[in-house]
Symmetry: C2
Subunit: 295 residues, 2 copies
Amino acid sequence: MKMFKNYLKTQRELIDLNIECYLNKLEYPNVIAEGMRYSVLNGGKRLRPTLLLMVLELYERDLSLGLPIAVAIEMIHSYSLVHDDLPALDNDDYRRGKLTTHKKFGEAEAILIGDALLTHSFSIVTDETCGVSSDKLIKIIGMISRYAGINGMIGGQMIDIESEKKKVPLETLKYIHENKTGKLIKLPVEIGAIICDATKEEYKALERYSECIGLAFQIKDDILDIEGDFQKIGKPVGSDLELEKTTYPSLFGMDKSREILKELIEDSKKSLSIFPKDKIQKFIELADYIGIRES
Amino acid sequence: MKMFKNYLKTQRELIDLNIECYLNKLEYPNVIAEGMRYSVLNGGKRLRPTLLLMVLELYERDLSLGLPIAVAIEMIHSYSLVHDDLPALDNDDYRRGKLTTHKKFGEAEAILIGDALLTHSFSIVTDETCGVSSDKLIKIIGMISRYAGINGMIGGQMIDIESEKKKVPLETLKYIHENKTGKLIKLPVEIGAIICDATKEEYKALERYSECIGLAFQIKDDILDIEGDFQKIGKPVGSDLELEKTTYPSLFGMDKSREILKELIEDSKKSLSIFPKDKIQKFIELADYIGIRES
């Protein structure tokens, strides 16, 4: 695991370098440019962009093919956090131990900073990507838009809000997880598969992998919200309980939730069995990492 | 002018039909789908999509080539109004005589409805456009993202907010107008020119036209804010004065502002002189319409 953590760190540094490179081009209005950098360069794990790079490595393709798109996905993830943290939504003051964007820059500013991150992510895809055909890029842009929109992340976020302070059935909880967090974890994996011309079978296998780790990631999040450490996760523990949110632990209890988590991680590994074992080591380690992460 | 108003009405109906067609595909979460339709299908003039269709007509191309993109631009315009109206920004309760989106659906919902409109607009471009090459579409998507982002509409909106309650120089006012409203008026004209393979000279001419009518549109807006009719413009008159906003009337007075407006309209017409006169009749009439409109 230590070696994998080093790998994650290396990828994170590469991704952060690229984020800085693209966002440092922005200057005016200063509060928007600064706010965009503040919101994205926040010490995040870069799980989503790393997944895209891992697929490129699996197919031994140049990472530069996917870096702009990987950055764009992270910007979309960041914008969603900026808007989620707003007073009208989750009303959070801290994220990863730092002031949230609206606490730092003001509420109107945070709304516009989020809008700017989302909007700008598309021009990073169109203007910075090299070596991917226009036909593929159109497909990729369409997928980004669908997975991040009403039938994806935003849909999940809306139902999540509607489900606060009430007990919802497992079906609804699954919809929330599949869309609010799941879609943006599937997205980089599927885009990687498109860039690398994966066969239908390989595409399905990678898609299944990303679905399993996406749900595992969310269940682990719910578990950390109960037993995590503020210092490590950088946000208050117990916020789900306070909001009376339905989660895997609230529906199934902690023991059963841990069991489901473990099964998902096993399933994610099995789903990649069509690939040579020495090629998918990183995917196996990432799945394990999701199960044991503390933040 | 009556004939031109009929033309605008016909185009508006065609555009509204297409907006409905695309947005009626959305169902869940209901509040987002309903909110998107409510925010876009609001009796707007459809100036931006109409401009794209006018360029296609100028080149005698099929309108269907540009309709999805025209709808996407109108959705981006609508999302910007939804977010501008929020309590943290302009805090408006009414728009075009109807409750604003957050007044109708709630604040968290309005933030997400705006996000969903912006996000979904890109998949309408990628998924619904037929007959435009992928290379051109990539160029068009990049342009949409840039003109709507930090170096375009959002930048203008931010500086507009920063400039409230203070006197700003003409240079700043120009930046605001060129970006906050200007860029989204240039956008459909330039996209039309790309779709129709306009020559460099034609492109420049059309670009200049759109810049002139964009600024004229905004100056007329400022004038209407002083002497307009609530019943006709559908929002309170005098809001600029109340916010102590710098406007053309506040910098130059009403008479001089009307003169500048008139000059811009003349310039817009002159800029198209390279085209045969019988081909640009609609563009001339649109420029005149902007000068005399009452809402």
